[in-house]
Subunit: 260 residues, 2 copies
């Protein structure tokens, strides 16, 4: 059992949690909690390390770990070490180091979400979760977004990282990937009514951060702005909610075409 | 200038932030930041107390305060006192005590959001913001929800409390208010496809918490369950996003009827 905070494995976890560049250099990220462990088992993804507390193992949760590949032997750690390693105030009792996947973006995508200047990790995690549920082909992260492997993003994304390509890239690459697509910027109040847009075309939705919206690169690329008409007194919706409404209006129109 | 954390005004703010029952006994709540101050000015609601720091006053923000009614004279506090009073890690530099409004719920509501067991204050705040933007008639909080005046709820709600009635009530009262309405429970996977529902009727949407969903009172009241079809591998959407998608599908159908 690991009982020291200065154990190299624990220090490695802490650095992966804290250091964006280190995560990407190591091509690894840290997840926490039973829900994430189940997601890994569902997608048959083998963590490189699992740490657990004794009290976690003594709960029913142990069943989750038994569904893991046999080569995964969880490393026991003391409660105090788990509290030190964990990114949360109330540690779930289980954490894992997971290799980053490199899911390929389709060469001719039909439905993309492009994020610009999303600095709120909770909003980013929620948008990734929505994009996975809507089966978008990929999420493209333009420069200026919080890291997709930030622990707060991972708490909200509910396994989206295992389901669809999520890739940081330059605006040049965004432009290349969205060639021949209609590109709509989610905008507050000054765009085409979102229910009037033809979402059945190959389409990309660009969503900006709540504070500053999208930058000039997004605007130079876009077909136009799209807005959700709101009650007059109201300024805006939460960015993740607005993204969800736009994405599922696109899904609704596309389902009708598919006859589903 | 207030320079002591034990000043009675500061202690009163701290207690309002921390103590749900005290807030409701005093019929007062605490908001923070320029955005909320602007909302108060827009709705001509007079805070009972405004505290600011000198550095806040020296920024352009002072203009916001000048738009306040003349009887509001902000109380200066030291940076250290603001840090103590504030509920946030990075205080905005302005806080206000606001009297609770008692906006009346229409006798015959046409569009209601009913929340059951919503324990996540961020989600509750976001749902209130969405309900205000969609112009629902009211939000009914069934027993088991986090307090609508919790500081974390107020950070997400963006002034929803000034725009629509938000009321905690018993299930008996929910039942009385929703008489003759269609009542749909937002559900994961086992309900009627949400685009097939006739949202043009008088309708209430019940949304439960992410952890445990709705309780038996909600189920005994409901017309049925409604679901958003998701990509097969995905378990669910964030509760606030799902609520947003349902609410704005209702708005979409109702707009068509109105000819708007």
């Amino acid at each position: 059992m690991i009982t020291s905070n200065s154990n190299p494995k624990i220090k490695y976890i802490r650095r992966l949690l804290a250091d964006r560049r280190f995560r990407h250099r190591e091509r690894a990220f840290v997840v926490e909690g039973t829900r994430w462990l189940k997601e890994l088992a569902q997608f048959k993804i083998t963590p490189t390390l699992v740490i657990v507390t004794q009290s976690y193992m003594l709960q029913d949760h142990v069943l989750t770990l038994f569904n893991m590949p046999p080569e995964i032997e969880p490393t026991m750690v003391s409660e105090q070490v788990m509290a030190f390693a964990s990114d949360t105030v109330s540690p779930a009792g289980v954490m894992a180091i997971v290799p980053m996947l490199s899911l390929p973006i389709p060469a001719k995508p039909s439905f993309l979400l492009v994020l610009d200047n999303i600095s709120n990790p909770g909003n980013l995690g929620t948008m990734l979760r929505t994009a996975a549920a809507a089966k978008t082909d990929a999420v493209l992260l333009a420069p200026g977004c919080v890291d997709a492997y930030n622990p707060k993003v991972l708490r909200g994304s509910m396994g989206a990282h295992l389901r669809l390509p999520i890739e940081e890239m330059s605006w040049d690459k965004v432009e290349t990937l969205t060639t021949n697509m209609a590109i709509w910027i989610a905008s507050v109040g000054d765009g085409v009514d979102y229910v009037e847009v033809d979402w059945k075309k190959d389409v990309a939705i660009i969503v900006g951060g709540e504070a500053f919206g999208v930058g000039h690169q997004a605007r130079s690329l876009a077909t136009g702005n799209v807005s959700i008409p709101l009650h007059r007194d109201t300024e805006s919706l939460n960015a993740a909610v607005a993204a969800g409404i736009l994405i599922f209006e696109a899904v609704r129109q596309r389902r009708v075409v598919d006859g589903a």
